[in-house]
Amino acid sequence: MSLLVNALKTWLLPLRYGVERWSYTLQRVSGVAITLYFVAHVVETGNVVGGAAVWSVPPYEFAERVWNETKTFLANPLFDAGLAVLAFMIFFHTVNGVRLFLAHFGITLGKPGRPEYPYRAASMSRPQRVLFWLSVILAVAAMVYAVDVFFKVLQL
């Protein structure tokens, strides 16, 4: 149990180590959230053919009825708010993921050189930082768009 507590504290409290540590935590959290949503989404969209018990083409009206029941169940402000948060997660994870993909291949990172005090790390280069903040900004924009779509706040 203390193994789990230690792990969660290290992973979920990215304090005092700079933005890259925050990006590490957020990438993990958003990844897990998206995967859990993915499970729920595949199960929920399975209702378009009538549910889990259906393994051959069902009657059209049966499928339509089950889907409409599902649609009504999902038309819930709590779920819509959750989807807005998910929009943030998806966009952050995607753009940050592209940043990480580039970094893992050494693209956009600085070159090694002779370390001069005060040692500005080339790995935490300007393009990297720009891409990180871009992912945050795009994620917030996606969340605002989602809130507008589900709650028609901004009439975009």
Binding site: L3, L4, A7, R28, G31, V32, I34, T35, F38, V39, V42, V43, T45, G46, V48, V49, A52, V54, W55, S56, V57, P58, Y60, A63, E64, W67, N68, K71, L74, I90, T94, G97, V98, F101, H104, V149, F150
Partner: protein, 117 residues
């Protein structure tokens, strides 16, 4: 499979998801409106019409497989970083594969049957 190969697939599926996911989000939010795309049948981008279109249904199938791999591999990485015992590692590998495979089977069933409705 070597960890290096799995990681490479993780990058590739990630990039693939950007494309297939982009198509999916476009059909739901941009090409139509959200509440219209949730309808069963009576709209060009309603749920069944998306499944009936071979291209869109294929991209949904691709998205299913790509997200299942990318997401569950991610979960596998996180779980295996927690503890590294031999039994635990094998158990996580099997569990993750089984759940991902089950989801892909279930999702494919949805796509195939809805395509014929």
């Amino acid at each position: 499979m070597k960890e290096k190969t799995i990681m490479l697939l993780h990058y590739i599926t990630g990039l693939g998801i950007i494309i297939a996911g982009g198509v999916h989000l476009a059909t739901v939010f941009l090409l139509s409106q959200y509440h219209l795309s949730m309808e069963f049948d009576n709209h060009p981008f309603a749920v069944l019409n998306v499944y009936r279109n071979v291209l869109l249904a294929s991209s949904l199938e691709a998205l299913l497989v790509l997200v299942a791999f990318h997401g569950f591999n991610g979960l596998r990485v996180i779980l295996q970083e927690l503890y590294q015992g031999k039994t635990y590692t094998t158990a996580v590998n099997i569990m993750v594969f089984v759940v991902a495979a089950a989801l892909v089977v279930y999702g494919t069933r949805t796509i195939l049957i809805a395509h014929q409705l």
